[in-house]
């Protein structure tokens, strides 16, 4: 599951290479959402700081 952003972004890059710009950007957007979701799943520890 952690590899989803890499493969999604690689797909977007491959789509870029073949000239499918809009689909590539859509693949990038989905990968970014996946990246942020994975970050949320891993950011579980409380931070020992005072803001």
């Amino acid at each position: 599951m952690m590899s989803i952003p890499f493969f999604g972004l690689f797909l977007a890059f491959a789509l870029t290479c073949v000239g499918w710009r809009r689909v590539a950007i859509a693949a990038w957007a989905l990968s970014l959402v996946g990246l942020l979701v994975l970050f949320r799943l891993h950011a579980t520890d409380a931070l020992n700081i005072v803001l």
Binding site: F6, A14, L32, L35, L38, H42, D45, I49
Partner: protein, 211 residues
Amino acid sequence: MSITDIPADSAAIRTRRAFVSPKRSHILNAIGLLAICAVLGFAFLDQFVNGDLPCPLCILQRAGFVGVGLGLALNLKFGARPSHYAIAILSAMAGGLISARQMLLHIVPGTGTYGDPFLGLHFYSWAFLLSVVIVAGCAVLLLFDRQFEPLPADVAPRRLGTLAIVGFFLFAALSLGNGASTVLECGQGLCPDNPTSYLLLDKEPPASTTP
């Protein structure tokens, strides 16, 4: 037709006078893509040569850099556009957010660190600094509007160029390699917080033979 026959405000003349012309923008983006490849390659080298397994947040920071590279690759393939710089900026912000979180985890002295430092800073601190530099660099490049002008009719259509082609090959190998390495390290689920080995390469302990 000599250069003096072209009207002073023609697209050809304005493009040639531009500080960041489409051609210069292309070169800058190619150098940027190679720089991203250098960052990803150095992290990969550290992983395999020094045996420093990337933590989950480190993996996600690498993905942020791959996103930045994609924005630059879009510029190289389709010509510079503000939307491509936006992709690079948003990806750098995502990576920067993750590295900032990791810095805050270890910001209190005595709370430990992850991995070995490089030139006095840990990789997550470098990742944060680089994210800031990428956002600032893209913002500076966005100031130069003439790079976005369509190429004049008398200029040959855009080609990738050697730098960009090398960058494309390296970028493809590094993004795919990071994906494969992450599968080996984490398997199908989430990564352990402090990985010590590649999950898929671990051999099962031998089964007990006692009856």
